[in-house]
Each structure stands twice: as C-alpha cells, then as structure tokens.
Symmetry: D2
Subunit: 397 residues, 4 copies
Amino acid sequence: MNRTTKPTLGVAMVGYGFMGAAHSQGWRVAPRFFDLDAVPVMRTIVGRDAERVEDARARFGWERAETDWRRVIEDPDIDIVDICTPGDSHAEIAIAALEAGKHVLCEKPLANSVDEAERMAEAADAARARGIRSMVGFSYRRVPAIGFARKLVQDGRLGDIRQVRAVYLQDWLTDEDGPMTWRLDKTLAGSGALGDIGAHAIDLVEHLTGSRLATVSGTLETFVTERPLLGETVGLSGTASEERGRVTVDDAAWFTARLAGGRADRAVGSFEATRYATGRKNALRVELSGSRGAIAFDLEAMNELQFYDATAPAGEQGFTRIIVTEPEHPYMANWWPTGHAIGYEHAFSHEVVDFVGAITSGSDPEPSFDDGLHVQRVLAAVERSAAEGSSWTPTAP
Amino acid sequence: MNRTTKPTLGVAMVGYGFMGAAHSQGWRVAPRFFDLDAVPVMRTIVGRDAERVEDARARFGWERAETDWRRVIEDPDIDIVDICTPGDSHAEIAIAALEAGKHVLCEKPLANSVDEAERMAEAADAARARGIRSMVGFSYRRVPAIGFARKLVQDGRLGDIRQVRAVYLQDWLTDEDGPMTWRLDKTLAGSGALGDIGAHAIDLVEHLTGSRLATVSGTLETFVTERPLLGETVGLSGTASEERGRVTVDDAAWFTARLAGGRADRAVGSFEATRYATGRKNALRVELSGSRGAIAFDLEAMNELQFYDATAPAGEQGFTRIIVTEPEHPYMANWWPTGHAIGYEHAFSHEVVDFVGAITSGSDPEPSFDDGLHVQRVLAAVERSAAEGSSWTPTAP
Amino acid sequence: MNRTTKPTLGVAMVGYGFMGAAHSQGWRVAPRFFDLDAVPVMRTIVGRDAERVEDARARFGWERAETDWRRVIEDPDIDIVDICTPGDSHAEIAIAALEAGKHVLCEKPLANSVDEAERMAEAADAARARGIRSMVGFSYRRVPAIGFARKLVQDGRLGDIRQVRAVYLQDWLTDEDGPMTWRLDKTLAGSGALGDIGAHAIDLVEHLTGSRLATVSGTLETFVTERPLLGETVGLSGTASEERGRVTVDDAAWFTARLAGGRADRAVGSFEATRYATGRKNALRVELSGSRGAIAFDLEAMNELQFYDATAPAGEQGFTRIIVTEPEHPYMANWWPTGHAIGYEHAFSHEVVDFVGAITSGSDPEPSFDDGLHVQRVLAAVERSAAEGSSWTPTAP
Amino acid sequence: MNRTTKPTLGVAMVGYGFMGAAHSQGWRVAPRFFDLDAVPVMRTIVGRDAERVEDARARFGWERAETDWRRVIEDPDIDIVDICTPGDSHAEIAIAALEAGKHVLCEKPLANSVDEAERMAEAADAARARGIRSMVGFSYRRVPAIGFARKLVQDGRLGDIRQVRAVYLQDWLTDEDGPMTWRLDKTLAGSGALGDIGAHAIDLVEHLTGSRLATVSGTLETFVTERPLLGETVGLSGTASEERGRVTVDDAAWFTARLAGGRADRAVGSFEATRYATGRKNALRVELSGSRGAIAFDLEAMNELQFYDATAPAGEQGFTRIIVTEPEHPYMANWWPTGHAIGYEHAFSHEVVDFVGAITSGSDPEPSFDDGLHVQRVLAAVERSAAEGSSWTPTAP
C-alpha cells in the first residue's frame, strides 16, 4: 500500500498535563503500529501559559503551540479536538468544537456536573447528524484484557451475571501529613475519589456487561479533614507550611448498585473508590460472577485476565490466568510477539485507533457522550444517596 | 513431666454433623501436640437419632452415645458441653449446661435471634461469677495467620486503621438448578449467607481490630427464588423432583459499617457474604488499610498473610507474603517444622487449647457469649437496614 | 455397617522423632475419616531411650512402649511394623520384620546405601510371595494435588512429556553461623540435601510420569564447610561454642536426567535440592511440560494445582489454578466440604488408608521397595557423576 | 532550558524486523520522556530489499531508506549506527562503523561466533581510545525491576550470593507439527534456544551479580528433529507442505555454572533455555539466593520484583512483591504516576537514554562489546561441554 496517498487528520490537543502526555503518546505511536485509514497529524497544542505550552510542544512533539483554544476551533487545518483539560472547561470547549464541525475526544469525566454533561450530549447528538464524531476517554476500555473479557461476556461464557465487584484502590493519601492540593478542594476538583477513579469503575462495569447501574445506595467519607498547606511554591515540590487547609472532597466512596439490561440484568454490584487503600497503587479491580463463569481483572497486573469456566469438568475448574499478549487478544497482533507485555499508555494508542477508525468508517465510537453523561448521573446519584443516609436513588433523570 | 497425674476434663458433644466431625478432631488431636494442663476426655456424643449417633460415636471415637442432651447436663463426669447443633437449639442447651455448672463451647452463630443470644449472654455472665467458662466457636480466630495479623495490629504496625474490606465468597448456589435444602428455608436456617458466613467476617474484623461495628447500611438479595425439591430421599444424594420449593433466605448480603473503638476507631468497612461468587470456594478475605501499614488475608490460602509496611524505605514497599508456618507464629511451634502447612481443622485444635487453657488458668476465653451476642446484633441490624431501604442502623440495643 | 466386627491390625512404630509424630497422627486419624476394611490399633512404640520413648508413647497415644525393636518383631499382636528411624537401621529392622511375616511401612529414603536397599528389596520380594506387603513412605505421593496431577498425566492430558523441572528448595542453612548438626555429618546422615529432599523430587517425578530417570549428570556443592559446634547440651537449644565442626555432606545438589518409559519417555529433567534457597521454606516444585499440556505444583501452596491445557481455544489458554479441595479430587471427599484446606500431615493418613487397603485387598502397595531401591540408585548415580566431573552416569545397576 | 539549542545525533538503523520495530520505538519515544543532552534524529533505515525497507521507513518514521549499509557508514550526518540485523552480519557492519568513527549499538547476541565477537571487541577497544562508544543490546538490563534488583545486590542487601537460578521459558515449539523456520537451521541461526534466549539469562545474571560464569557443564537437546517445510511462500503465513525439514539447532539447553568475582563469587548457578515449556510465553526468570536476602524476577510480570529480606524480624520474613512503578525505581520518574505499568518496549527507550547519555558524557556504556564477547564465550563453552558429555568447561579463552 502506498502510505503517502492516505488522507490526514489534523489534531489539536487542549491541555498538557498528565493526560496531555498520555494522549500525545497515543497520537504519536498509534500510526506506527496500526494501519489507519487516515493519518493523524499532531498540529497544535493549546495551553493558557505561553511558556509552559511551548515547553510541552517541544517535549511532546506538536507542530504549533497556542494559548487560546478558540484559535484551533477556527483553524481549518484541525479536524480533531482532543480535550485534556480539567473537567470544568470540558463543556465549553467540546460544544464549541462540535458546533464548528470538529470531531471531539474528551477526557473523562465528561464534565463536572450533570447539567454540563447533558448539554454536551445534546451537542454531540446534533453533531452526529452532521457526521461529526465524539468520544469520551475512558481509556481502560482499551486494555486488551478488558476487551477480551467483554468478548467472553458477550459470547455468553459467563451466563447470567448476578454479581459485580468493582473497586479502584489507591493509597496516595495514606500519610495524613501529606499536603493539601487542588484535588482535595471541591470547588476546583468537583469531587474526590468518587469522580476521579470511581468513574472508571462504573464505566468499566457498564462496558463489560452492557448493563446500566439503575439505582444506587452510597456512602462517602473524608478521613483526614485538614492537611498542611504548601508554602509559596505551588506543586508537589513545595514546602509544607504550618497552616492547614480544609479537605472538602471525599477520600473514599462505597456504593451498592442494582443493574438493569445487558448481561448483568438484575445483578447487584458493590463498588469502592479510595485513595487510602494502603499498599494499593493503582488497583482497579473488577470481578463478574455469572451462572456459567466468572472473570477477574486487576489493573496492577494489566496484562492478565482471570477466567473461570463453570462448565469445565468437575475437578478441573479454577481461575485460568490468561496472559493477554497473544494475537487472538484485542489489539495485540499489532504490537510485539507472544508473551511481550504492554504498558499503561498503550490504551491511548488503542483509543486513537478506534477514534480514527470511527471517523474514517463513518460510525459512532464508544463510549459516547451519552455514556459519559450516564456515568455523571451515577456519580450524582451516589452523592445524593450519601447525603440522604444511603437511601436508594435512581440514576435516571 | 509425669503426664499420668494430670487432671482430666470430661467432654460431651451435642451434634454430629460437619461441626461434630471438626470438633471431634479438635478434641482428639489437641492433646497430642499441645501440653495442656488438663486432659480432655471424649466421653459422650449426643444426637436425637439413636442409630446415627451410635455410628458417629464409633466413627469419631467417643466413649458413649446419648439421644437426650439433658443426660449429659446431669452427668457428673461431664465438665464441658460442646454444642454443635443447628442454631435453634443453642440457647436451651447452653443455658441449661451453664446453670448445671458445665463449661460451654457453643458453635457460631450463638443463636438464631438476638433475644436468645441475650439470654445466653446473661447465663454466661451468671456462670462466670461461679468460675464457669463459655466461648463461641468462631474458629477462624485461631488460624495462625489471623493470630499473627492481630498481633501486628495490636503492636501498632498498621497505625490507625481507616478502611476494612471483608468478604466471604462461596459459590455453591451458582447453578440455579441445584436443589432446595433446609439451609435455604428461613424457618429452619434463620438466615442465609448473612448469618452463615457473614457472621465470620464480622467476628474476624472485630477480633483483628478490637473495634465494634457500630452502625450499618445493608442490602440483601435472593437471586434464585425457587429451586427443585428433592425427592423422597432427603439429603444431598436425593433425586431432584419436578416440584420446586421457595427460597426464603438471602443468597447474598452487602453492608457498609462504621466502626468504633479499638484500632479501627471511626473506620469504614465494606462487607459482602455470598454463595454466588462463581469460582470462589471458601474465600473469606479481610484487608485492613491503616496509616502505617496494611494486612490482607484469604482463607483459600490460609497459611499465608500479606503484610504491607508503609514505613519501609521508599522503593522497597510492597505486600510481603508471609508463609505463616514458622515457630514465631501462633500455635505453629507445636506442629511441624518450618514450611509445613496446616489445614482447616487445626483451628479446632487451637480452639480446644485455648478453651482448656482458660478453664485451667481460671481466665475468660474469647470470643465470649457477649461477643457472640454482638455479632447477632450486627446481623439483625443489617437485616433491619436492608428492610428499610439501606438506612443506617445502629447495632447497639 | 457394624463397625465392631471389623478385623484389627496391630501396629508397632519404631522411632519417635518428627516422622514418628507424623506417622502417629496418620494412624490415629485415618480410621476416623476413612472407612477402612480393617482397623489399625496403635499397639507399641519403640525407641532406645526408655524415658523418652515412654514420654512419646503418652504424647502420641500408643498402648505400650518398648526399647528393643526385636520385641515387636516377635509379638504376635503386631501385624504392621512402621519404621521411622534414621536410614542406617532401616535394612536390619525391615528385613527382620518381613521375615517374621509383618507388613512393613518404611520411611524414605529406603536405606543409606544401594547395597542395603537391594537386600531390602529382595526381602520384600520374598515376603510378597507369602502375602506380606511392604511400602516406602514417600508421603507426598498422597497429596491430593499430586494424585490429581498424576491422573491428568495418565489420561493423556499432557500428551508426550518432554521436559521436567523439579526442585526442592529449603533455606535453613542460609545463616552461616547456624550450628553443626548430625544431619551435616556424612557418617551419620549418609547424604545432605540430595538424599534428604532430592529423593522426594525424584520419586515425585517418577510417580507422576510413570517414567524412570535412566541417566544423570550431577553436581554437588558444600557452601559452608565449617559450622560452630554446639556446647554440651545436644540439640537445637544448645549453645554454640567457639569450636567448629566440619560439614561433610552436600548443601545443594543439581542434576540433569534423561528419562525412559512412561509418559515422559525420552524427556529431559532438571533437578535441584538445596538448603540454601533463601526465603523458600519447603518449596518442592514440579513442572511437567508436554505436547498437549502442562502441570505445575508447589508444596508451599499444597492445596493448589496449576494446569495448562494446550488444546483449549487460542486466546483462552493459561495456567488454571485448581484449588484441590473438591470431592472429585483424590481422598478429599472424606475430609471437609468444598474449599476447606488440608495440611501437611493429611498425606500420612492417606498413606495409612492405602497401605491398609493393600493389606486387606491383598494387592501390592506403591511405592514398593523396588521403587525405593531405584531412587537410591539414582542418588548414588548422581554422587558418582558429581565425583567424575558431571559425566553422564546410568542409574541401572 | 531552551531545547532548540541542543546538539543532535544522526542515527542510522540497519535492519527492520522485530528488533527494528522495537529500536525505532526507542529512538522515537525516549526524547519525549527523558531530558537528553543530545537529541537523536531518526535519519536513515537500511535494508536489502528496496520495497520493504521503504515500507518500513514510512511505518517506523525514518527520514530516508537505504539498501546498502555502507552508505550510512560514509554519511557524515550519521553519528550512531544501530545494528538490528541477524547475527551473521554484525561483525562486518559494526567493525566498519567503528572504524568510520560511528558510535555503535549492536543487538544481541554480539555475533554468531567467538571469533567474530573477538574481532568486534578489538574494534571497540580501538574506537574507545578515539572516544567512540559501543554497546550491546541486552535490553532486559533496562527493565526497572532489574535495575532496582541490581541496586539491592550492590548495596549488599543479599549478602553473599550462593545460588542462582535462571531460566528462559518459551513454548512456541510445543506443537510438533509447527513449521520449519530459518531459526531452526543451524547454518542460518547459529544456535537455537541457547543463543537466542539463553544469552539473555547469562547476561542478566552477570549484570545483577557483577560476577562471571567461569566454568559450565551443559546439555543440549532437540526434541522434534523434523518439521513440515512451508510451501513456496516463505514466512509464517506460508502453507505447510508434506515435505519435512531437519531441525539442526537445540530446542532446549540446560547448564550448571560456577561463578567467580562480584557478589556471587563461588556461587553455583543453574540455567535453562527452552522453546518447549508448555504454557510459558516469555518467562525469563532469575532468582538469587544470598546469605542476607534473595530476589526473584519473572519477565511475565515485568513490573514486579520479589525481594526477601532475611534480616527482617523472625515471623515477618517473606517475599515482598514490589510493584516497580514508583519514582524511586530506575527510569520510572520519567514515565507515569505511581502504579502505572510500563511494557516491553520501554526498555528500548531506556537503552537509548543510557547510550546517548554515555556519548554525551564521554563515558563507556554497558554492556560493552567485551561483555557481549564473554556471553559468546559462555555459549560456546556450553556447546563444547554438551558435546563432551557435560564435562566442566572453562569459559575463559
């Protein structure tokens, strides 16, 4: 095939933090390993601070740097807008980009409020009618073990799923003398563990099962309510002062959910999201218990999937540790030979592959803004339930 | 030491099912490996069916068989009454035995209702004043890994415990065509997964932390509401008929709890008990997350304890898989050389060691009937909460 | 069934150390859980030191104590002689017992030399003609996971086995200031890690595969050649003196073997036995790699078996962690419900079950003295090979 | 820092197979995550087939494609020659490049014979005097878990290392009907499992311990001696014909080695390399047993390191599963936040970082061509030993 004749897609990325680094790697690497029908070109990176965004541009390898995202919305060379900013600016940028005819990839959570998310989903609907695509960046859907687990579920290998266990365990707040940061301030972060990492657990369960969390009973807790303020220097390297700031977000969230539809219709799920699970660094774990089988996944061993086949001969049953690095597993045929692990950021290459594939094939990518809106509604329902003594709360509007 | 001069303790055991077999093994083996200050003698086994109890007597190695438990209450050769019957007869037997001056070891759960449990605890209090000992058979407290974990907690190695995760996962109801049994009938069993296995999770957390579950928010679910009735032959070997019976107990239970006192004061715990966790045979798992460390235990690997020391040098932290078979670990110096595993029933030998030790030393063994009553109250509170939309419910009377 | 009419088998046990404790537990417990066709009765325990053997008698629960093993050979009440002494007395006792018409269970290794082992095997052959049974105590054959693995092999689930990996890793000599003991003195112990634990690895591989180690290339090493002598008090509790004794046995042994016959015909095996594998307490590990599948076992997780089915669908292959506690697994239906672990000493109950079963059914138990002799020949061949620069050495006489 | 003023280094890569893809990814990604003192520029890719190399150029993102490696040797824009061809052309290209003043990164194994490797090492020595750097591509040295393990060893945390276990287990030849390939033809591949993957095990042990394998006793085996020839179409996608080709390399290799120098002076190591370890996809495993501790690593879980501290309090010892994704671990501070896994190809970025760092700082990178030559000598000694009945064979010339 003659690669030079392929169409290109001009990409602009807004934001240059952790997610900016991850998305840049996705745009850079995906075309090197996957045969895309259009070649994404890393045109413009956008950030408010001119010096910093120029530094990010050079480091991440974008052609141009801009300080105003409206410039890329107007730029005819830009086909895709990739939004990696904090949640409070998602709605404004995404809606403007969609209205301007740009395909939009928006980091999770879709927004900081249900209201914003609803407006974004409406804009996506309107854009869809004009062939404009939109997708939310729940990147863990693109971990091969998850993709393969989903296939097992869809093929009926688990039968009727009755129970779901989903936790996202981190421990970076274990030390009570760790500093106050913007992530612990509700006015800036919107939410704590619930929205930041709990959202991943919700999306993953819904993705794997094809079901929706219909009602929830939730609890939120803040274990350490005051933390040392950093001195003048802002950031993790700042010096802790004797003053203390007030933590206004949840440190941990628990909720029980009843599911509806899909393979886990009428199932019950238990969820936990926490930053206080001492020793657990990034343990997003999902276990599905079905009438014919079960699967278990732990992001801390992301290249493995545990599968239990309850239809195997008695005496031979057990959880099979599948090392998900074979050509039969999603995306893996394009990477390395059998048995060679991939890492965290590969999911972002897969995200690019699927998003570009949807654009070139004229289909709608998943997760959609509607999916993102639904997650937002679940988060809001958990917060409402927690505020009302854990009473059962529907997630539907 | 001259063993022949040791005092003896005459033991009567009421019941001869699964727990009867386990307790018999405890009484038989404990004196062979531990140097007890009094030697228990397996005098009398009691059961209602004369033929069956005689068969059990011969198989388990008791001297005599009786069909009426009142006979052993009156027997001056009996010092200890060990109650292994279903929960509905615990109160009557235990109270009579205590009043007759017999030391009582009573299987868990202490009773089928809070009311019964309260009367048993009162009887135990009264008996204690006369030097009569009583203990509930939460045998998992005597698994060496649990004993060692508790020591780490008490020594402050976990710091302040903020989070507790406790699940008891089994899967013997996964097959929806499995037969109806008395365990699924509320009038006989009192409760389903909650009381049967959830009780273990509650006791273990309270034992490890020295804290109490103070309030709970719970959910119960029955996934399969009708199951085939067995034919004429009662028991697991019976033939399934076409008639179906109604399941009236919970298949699974979830609850969130707030703890008070002890090392987990103000901690939040999440609990699950289920018989539908496909592939999990006997997975009683407890994880405690503290400010200085964490421990994790899984009964499916009962000779191991995972310990995380958050005060270890950065870069070297991780969960240490301690194989709990060393002389430094509780009870283990009396068994085999380093690295040799013990099994399920060893905990019953340990129970005998501790109960006999309490009797000979004149101290009160744990868990007490008060502890058992408290577990009963937690179970009742979970049921109440579940019936009232998961509202938070205190466990105190 | 009327248990009282069952025949009995009078048992005498010679020796009362670690193996004496383990065997006593086997004799005591087996009839309580298994329905044997004859009931073993723990008649006589034999040891040279009158006071110690009397203490062991009381502790282990034997009827009588004797100081001369010849007395039990002559005793008409004794049907079975169970030899738990160090290897240097095996031949004399076993041959005398067999000639006197006693069934003999002899601890491994069968003897301290090939010559002795040959005479024992001859005596066993002669006795067999008269209906007298003999068996070597390679107890790990009776671990349920091993029994189940063997069945998988025999059923052809592994296809042709091409490679074997077998190691027995312990670490109790890691500390170079640990004391000198008789086990490190060749004149007393005969051999070091090779004969003590390497013998188990050899037997297990031959048992699992039905193949024989035909030729070997071996290496022996003594890492710490001098160790502190203990002071006057003999035993582990003695005080280390400044004098040092010479270690005259191997600390570790490695050998490569070519197999013949059975399921691993023409396979190559690698073996290691060591007391210096820091952190490994009792890691007897076997892995078999076949054309259709593989199994892996580790005694440190003795209730688990890893099974890989290379005929499973591509993408679903992986090692399945079978928890070997189900009724389908060897011996397990007689113990506890599903998911309940057994421990180290249960293998000795299984040994009793199989030995008594062979006696009552008139069949020959395994492993036979011929099997034990063969292991002895392998050990001798490894030593010869090591002495001759690791040259390949046949194990056949 | 102003990135635009940084010096650049022109890179040419010879070869475009699996290693070409991996190295390209290393050159592409390293400068995006690490602050290098010179920026590598992907100038020229070289391959014999014009069409294929042009395709690789476009796919991997090089500026130019060439069909004659001599052109890049003469090109003044090229500073670094990266050799990813099969082993038979390494010597010619590397020596020419070094003589022309190019820094050389050469894939492992250094060469197909000791003779070639010696000439390459001589050329590297001569070039070093002129400031020209050379390095062998044993990429697994750059896995963070290995780097951290090495630090523990160097810091004395393992004490004196007495035993080494190193295996590299793959299973892609398990199916005996799998096709004949050039890798199984000695005239093309030079060696089988021994040189291909055994070389990694050797280098890793020497890197971790700072010791050399001094003498070896080895065994080689070919399990399946004939395999179906592919039809006309060469490559994995070809159709198997009925003709069969002769396998002339080893399928598996085992060797015992005595080490000298470094932290494992006088240690004994056991090694295995195989393509028949059913179920093991890419299991490069190393375990080091020392007087004060141990480490264990498995490439199938490459983000983990098991560390055993034998100086920890009795009862708390055990293997600690360190998740090697923290800022304290080598290279990891430059990637993602705590707990986020990296994959196989990250080691190639680290290789670029270290090689460029050596060039810019004027120091000699490791592993040197001398190191590569030594590995070649070990491989040759194993083959000699195997041919002479496993006799002990020195690795020194």
